[in-house]
């Protein structure tokens, strides 16, 4: 089992994809590093992270099968 990463809104302008599967990493900080190496455009982007649909504020340990969403500021309504 790996980790599923979802990209939303303006972030997809940088990634050109909305979803990827990657090998398990330690935590969300490490995930950001790996992702930003592949998509350097994200370094300038403002986003928050949800792990399994729960917004996180701090670095969070990841486990197999987690779904990590990178989300720019919301603009619904």
């Amino acid at each position: 089992m790996k980790i599923q990463v979802l990209f939303f809104g303006s972030l997809t302008d940088h990634t050109r994809l909305s979803e990827l599967i990657m090998d398990l990493v330690e935590d969300t900080n490490q995930l950001k590093q790996v992702i930003m190496q592949s998509y350097p455009g994200l370094k300038m982007a403002k986003f928050i992270i949800a792990v399994n649909k729960q917004m996180i504020q701090e670095n969070t340990i990841l486990k197999k099968g987690d779904i990590v969403a990178l989300m720019p500021p919301f603009s619904g309504g």
Partner: protein, 147 residues
């Protein structure tokens, strides 16, 4: 939770004006209701430096939005004395002048419906993972930023 029936939250494309009348009519048998407070979001033809908005294309993290919406709903039912609450948000393309958000809150006395509806609109904008991409008449696009 006074009401268990599940409605869809996301609707594909614009929300028809007729839906407001149809939903309102359905509440005429709920004779404990004295007040309905409704909010509708309509797509504006804003002039930006990139062009004139002609539509907004909505996308969402649907599963998370639904679960977050359920939380919001339970919070408001706990905070206010409400008879019912219905919320619909568009996905996909909504043209200028069309409705993209329909919030409908009913209660016995007006204050609960009015306050809960106003709070609900703020929470929808702030807490739901939904994004709007503005599409301009010149085919440029820009991601919408909420105020």
């Amino acid at each position: 939770m006074k009401e268990k029936k599940k409605h869809p939250f996301f609707l594909q494309g614009a929300i028809p004006a007729q839906k407001v009348a149809d939903d309102l009519q359905k509440h005429s048998t709920k004779t404990a209701i004295g007040a309905h407070s409704i909010f509708l979001g309509q797509v504006r033809s804003d002039q930006h430096e990139n062009g004139l908005v002609q539509a907004i294309e909505y996308t969402a993290y649907e599963e998370m939005a639904l679960s977050k919406m359920e939380e919001i709903r339970e919070g408001l039912f706990a905070k206010y004395e409400l008879s019912c609450m219905h919320v619909y948000h568009s996905l996909g393309t909504v043209a200028v002048g069309e409705i993209c958000l329909f919030v409908f809150v009913s209660s016995k006395h007006r204050k609960n419906a009015i306050d809960a509806c106003a709070e609900l609109v703020e929470l929808i904008k702030k807490d739901l993972p939904i994004w709007g991409k503005e599409i301009y008449t010149n085919t440029n696009t820009t991601w919408k930023v909420n105020q």
